[in-house]
C-alpha cells in the first residue's frame, strides 16, 4: 500500500514541500518533476531529502536536463526517465500529486 508522490513546484514553495515531506512514509517514492527539480540545488531542501529514511527520491530526467541541473545519485536518490516514471506508478498502489 505504498505511495508514489510527485511534486512539481520549486522549493521556494516551502509550505508545499513541508507538507509533502511530512506525508512520506517508509516504502514511498517521492518523484520530483517539472520545477520541483530545483530541489536538487536548494540547500535546505536537498539536505532534508538526504536525511529521509526508507524513502526513495527520484528526479525526472527530462526536467533535470531541461533546466541544466546536476543531480548526484546516491543510496536513496536516483534519476529516472519517463518509462521508469510509469514503472513507479505501477509499483506503488496509488499516487499523490503535490502542486
Amino acid at each position: 500500500m505504498t505511495t508514489l508522490h510527485t511534486i512539481n513546484k520549486s522549493p521556494s514553495n516551502l509550505a508545499l514541500w513541508h507538507s509533502c515531506m511530512a506525508a512520506l512514509l517508509p516504502g514511498d517514492t517521492l518523484l520530483i518533476i517539472e520545477n520541483g527539480v530545483y530541489a536538487a540545488t536548494h540547500t535546505t531542501i536537498a539536505e532534508q531529502l538526504s536525511t529521509l529514511e526508507g524513502i526513495n527520491i527520484s528526479f525526472l530526467s527530462a526536467d533535470v536536463q531541461a533546466r541544466g541541473l546536476v543531480v548526484t545519485e546516491s543510496n536513496n536518490t536516483s534519476i529516472v526517465d519517463d518509462q521508469q516514471f510509469v514503472n513507479l506508478a505501477c509499483q506503488h498502489s496509488k499516487t499523490v500529486s503535490w502542486f
Partner: protein
C-alpha cells in the same frame, strides 16, 4: 495496468499537460492501457482547437488529439469547467445560443461523474497538477 489521468494544470501556462502527455505516451508504449484522460480546471483549454501556437512551439491540443486517435483514448473535458471558460462543442454552443464552437472529437465534454467512474474502474489514477 489500467491508468486514468487527471490533468488539472493550465493548458498553456503550466508544464503539466505535457508531462501528462509524456506519461500517457510512455505507459502506452509499455503496453499499459489508459481508461480515460480527464481535463479539469484550467486544463480544459487544451480542448480548444482555436489554439494556434507558433509553429516552432509545442501544440498541446494537437499532441493529445493525435495520441487519442492513435490509441482510441477517451479524452473527457469537464463540461462545467469548459463552458465557464468558453470551451464548447457544437451541441453545447447551440444549447447556449453561441455563434460558434471550438471543440470536437476526440475531445468530449462530459460531467465530473466521469472522473469518479475513472477512479473506480482504473488501477491507478494519477494527477498532473496546476
Amino acid at each position: 495496468m489500467l491508468f486514468s489521468i487527471l490533468i488539472y494544470g493550465s493548458a498553456h501556462n503550466s508544464q503539466s499537460a505535457h508531462t501528462a502527455y509524456r506519461f500517457a505516451d510512455s505507459a502506452l508504449k509499455a503496453g499499459h492501457k489508459i481508461h480515460r484522460i480527464f481535463f479539469y480546471g484550467e486544463s480544459v483549454h487544451t480542448a480548444s482547437e482555436l489554439s494556434a501556437p507558433p509553429r516552432d512551439e509545442q501544440n498541446i491540443h494537437q499532441l493529445w488529439k493525435e495520441l487519442a486517435q492513435a490509441h482510441e483514448l477517451d479524452l473527457v473535458v469537464c463540461i462545467a469547467a469548459a463552458l465557464k471558460r468558453g470551451v464548447m462543442d457544437k451541441a453545447e454552443a447551440k444549447r447556449h445560443e453561441k455563434g460558434s464552437f471550438n471543440s470536437q472529437a476526440p475531445y468530449e465534454l462530459s460531467g465530473l461523474g466521469q472522473l469518479s467512474e475513472a477512479a473506480i474502474i482504473s488501477d491507478r489514477l494519477i494527477t498532473f497538477g496546476a
